[in-house]
């Protein structure tokens, strides 16, 4: 049985609230060795991302061929987990109190580029949020890099897992993943990565990042389930596309690309051109982004004309239960 679970994220709806990031972190990554690590992070695009410059430091060239990747630096690329002066701010009984601030120097963090964006203000300034997690790739670069066979892709759901009993901490997976979604735990000397909330999946419950998302922009299900949201958005409506398909790993996390309002000229008149440059979106999602955007715009127009749109109804998530279609025998309603 070769099935693939997948996720679709509608970038038109992400608030950048980081609820998904916190839901994931609280559930899976509170150890000292992974305090810097975010299996799920939400970064601001355009930007350098998390870890810094991840799009350039992975183990794949733009034509999908292998290159030597880099292991990001804890301080400069991931950003060390901040320690705050809580004692001096909240608990000091005498003398002047300090403002709340990190105690050590900070160089980077999980959304360091927050809201910077790009484009001249106010004519064409823009940004959007890009939530990222392991893509549970069809051809995982991490698996290909592990000399010990410690990384496994499950045949029943396609989830990619690190077997930490087999892992000897060599970190070729960290280098090789072009999405930089394997993290090394230096305290335990093993690699760690998103497990797509496998224990929840086994109970028919969607991953925490998806269930907790107040924007209701995450969809989870099997790619081959014609009744499920993933198959519809990816294969039928063709509005969801993978991030950096050119890396060649076959990502199974898909994005509905962000439409944007028109820019304005110096006189404040609309230019007719979207603020987020299509060329920038193409640099993220490949040429397929143009068709996906056109389909999306057409569906939106249909809705504006009052004709109704099954695509928009699904994306708006009027019926949230339709966001998730797991193993139906066991799907249940919990957070």
């Amino acid at each position: 049985m070769n099935r693939q679970l997948a996720m679709v994220l509608d970038l038109n709806k992400c608030l950048g609230c980081q609820t998904c990031t916190v839901a994931c972190k609280k559930l899976w990554n509170q150890d000292q060795g992974t305090d810097y690590a975010y299996w799920n992070n939400v970064e601001t695009a355009p930007g350098k991302g998390f870890p810094r410059l991840w799009q350039e430091t992975g183990g794949r060239n733009a034509d999908g061929s292998v290159k030597r990747g880099e292991i990001p630096s804890l301080d400069a690329d991931y950003g060390r987990a901040w320690k705050f002066n809580h004692d001096k701010t909240f608990f000091k009984s005498n003398g002047p109190r300090e403002w709340l601030k990190p105690e050590s120097g900070t160089q980077w963090g999980p959304n360091w580029d927050e809201d910077h964006g790009a484009g001249a203000y106010p004519q064409e300034n823009h940004y959007f949020y890009l939530p990222r997690l392991c893509n549970h790739c069809t051809h995982p670069a991490c698996l290909d890099a592990c000399p010990r066979g410690a990384i496994e892709k499950r045949s029943d759901n396609g989830i990619v897992l690190v077997n930490q009993d087999q892992c000897h901490g060599y970190r070729f997976c960290v280098e090789a993943c072009p999405y930089k979604k394997v993290y090394f735990d230096p305290k335990r000397q093993v690699s760690t990565k998103c497990i797509f909330c496998l224990p929840r999946i086994e109970e028919g419950v969607a991953p925490a990042c998806a269930r907790q998302c107040p924007g209701r922009l995450r969809f989870v299900g099997f790619l081959d389930d014609p009744a499920g949201p993933i198959h519809k958005l990816v294969n039928e409506y063709k509005v969801a596309i993978p991030l950096h398909p050119e890396f060649g790993t076959g990502p199974n996390v898909y994005y509905v690309p962000p439409l944007s309002p028109e820019g304005i000229d110096d006189e404040g008149r609309p230019t007719g051109k979207p603020r987020i440059p299509p060329a920038y979106l193409e640099s993220l999602f490949g040429p397929a982004v143009h068709d996906a955007m056109a389909r999306l715009a057409a569906e939106r127009e249909k809705t504006t004309r009052g004709e109704g749109s099954a695509v928009m109804d699904l994306l708006i998530a009027y019926d949230w239960s339709k966001n998730f279609a797991l193993d139906d025998a066991r799907t249940r309603e919990v957070i």
Partner: protein, 180 residues
């Protein structure tokens, strides 16, 4: 027995998976070009001493995901002339001992081919004494019972310099078995 061994870098082309062979295709030089070896056998068992130059020792990496730790391993074939560079086979496994600079105790290790090394707690009495001074590691293994070595009397060893990101198959090794 006392000797100085010129070490080699095992070819990365043979590494399992598609990444290392390509990404490290340019790695042909070992991080450690030679090492001194001294082996003594007595009624108390084996004592094996290694000495190699390491301009920078890496003993601890608990705070740095980029840092690799210095290490060294001794191996002996359980069957004489088992493949060494490719780490034995299921029919001709290797047995050995692995030291890593951040650990007080060594591991007992076995291998049946590339990427197959299994680590286990070392038997009681297996100890290492490591000292780093003047840019040189001096490491002594005391191994009261090392059955494979006693049977085949062949020894190979590997050295990893963490400062050069050496780990796994990125290592410096003896070109073949050393016959004792």
């Amino acid at each position: 027995m006392k000797t100085t061994v010129t070490l080699i870098a095992p070819p990365t082309a043979m590494q399992p998976g598609g990444y290392i062979a390509t990404a490290y295709a340019d790695r042909s030089q070992p991080g450690t070009s030679r090492a001194d070896l001294e082996v003594q056998e007595s009624t108390a068992g084996w004592t094996v001493a290694l000495r190699w130059r390491a301009p920078q020792a890496v003993i601890d990496a608990t705070d740095n995901p980029r840092q690799f730790i210095d290490g060294a391993a001794l191996f002996a074939p359980t069957v004489k002339d088992a493949p060494w560079i490719s780490m034995g086979t299921p029919d001709m496994p290797l047995e050995g001992v692995l030291w890593r600079a951040d650990r007080a105790q060594p591991w007992r290790v076995s291998a049946q081919g590339l990427g197959s090394v299994q680590r286990a707690e070392a038997p009681a009495g297996w100890t290492t004494a490591a000292r780093y001074a003047n840019g040189t590691w001096q490491l002594t293994f005391t191994l009261p019972a090392f059955a494979a070595l006693t049977v085949t009397r062949q020894l190979g060893f590997a050295v990893w310099q963490g400062a050069q990101s050496e780990r796994a198959g990125l290592k410096s090794v003896t070109p073949g078995w050393i016959n004792l």
